[in-house]
């Protein structure tokens, strides 16, 4: 058994090592020569000169999550599609391209239907809630008027 083939992972490790070393090294080196005069005002978070109110870690809009959700589904899908895509040419050359094409298209289409669902339901609209509030308030107004 030869482990030499694993050597190709070496540059990755080396580069990651260089990256880490660079970050720490530069900061350590800088420590020697740069000034260090902390004060309360400096260490405050920047909020246009005002004192920050509360912490920044508050609840965020859930649409960020929906976007990342669709993303992860596609990400996983791409993990499945990459090997199939890389044998596509080979299959095509031995004359079985039709089958792999059908498999591929069916696979994609099923996921496209999911995206279409999200699209139709408005999960992809960034300003949807705004519209909704508008609708609701206008409805309320008309009801009150009548």
């Amino acid at each position: 058994m030869s482990s030499h083939n694993l050597d190709v992972y070496m540059p990755i490790l080396i580069l990651i090592g260089i990256g880490i070393a660079l970050v720490f090294g530069a900061i350590l080196f800088g420590k020697l020569i740069r000034p260090h005069n902390p004060s309360r005002l400096k260490e405050q978070a920047y909020e246009c000169g005002e004192d920050p109110v509360g912490v920044a870690w508050s609840n965020f809009n859930v649409r960020f999550y929906v976007v990342s959700l669709i993303f992860i589904i596609f990400d996983v899908e791409s993990a499945l599609m990459f090997p199939v895509a890389s044998v596509f040419k080979k299959f095509n050359e031995i004359g079985r391209g039709g089958i792999i094409l059908c498999t591929f298209i069916v696979f994609v289409m099923i996921l496209v239907s999911g995206v279409i669902y999200c699209w139709r339901k408005g999960d992809l609209d960034w300003v949807k809630s705004f519209h909704l509030n508008l609708d609701e308030s206008s409805e309320k107004n008309t009801q009150e008027a009548s």
């Binding site: 912490v55 960020f64 990342s68 959700l69 199939v84 089958i99 498999t103 949807k128 909704l132």
Partner: protein, 178 residues
Amino acid sequence: MFDSVLFLLSAILIVVGSLGVLFIKENIMHACVALLTALFGVAGAYAVLGADFLAATQLVVYVGGVVILMLFAVMLTGGGAANENKFGIEKIPAMGNVKTYIIAGVNVLVISLVVIKIMANVMQDYKAVALPAYESTVEKLGTLLVTDHVLAFEVSSILLLGALVGAAVIARPIGSTK
């Protein structure tokens, strides 16, 4: 030799990361980063095992996908802030207390005994065989996915569809039930 180095690095990452997930109490964000470390280690272990495609998949799916999803979810559930909600309950719970850790330890001990008992048999039965050389698995995986495992391939897309639709429905903001 390099394979041992790679394995050791991965093992260290896995061990440190796993322990981090278990014991980092103050901030769930840090636990997520610890999980990221462990998953990186798993990718390295895959590389040592000759599963090049799986290693890359591990990176793409976990690093790019799951961890970011987790981070977003943490932010959406109040982030690291420790304040109380309207019921007077802690909004973000303590990450476990001594009692739970003791129970978990006992359970881990039990399951370890069981697993070690199984593994003892495996070790006795296992005969070392000649290991294959490292070679590309991508084409083989692709071929398997469209021949032997084509049903699983298609069904997995349906699974993903279900996950997408279900999660989108669940996570949809309250009040937008159009």
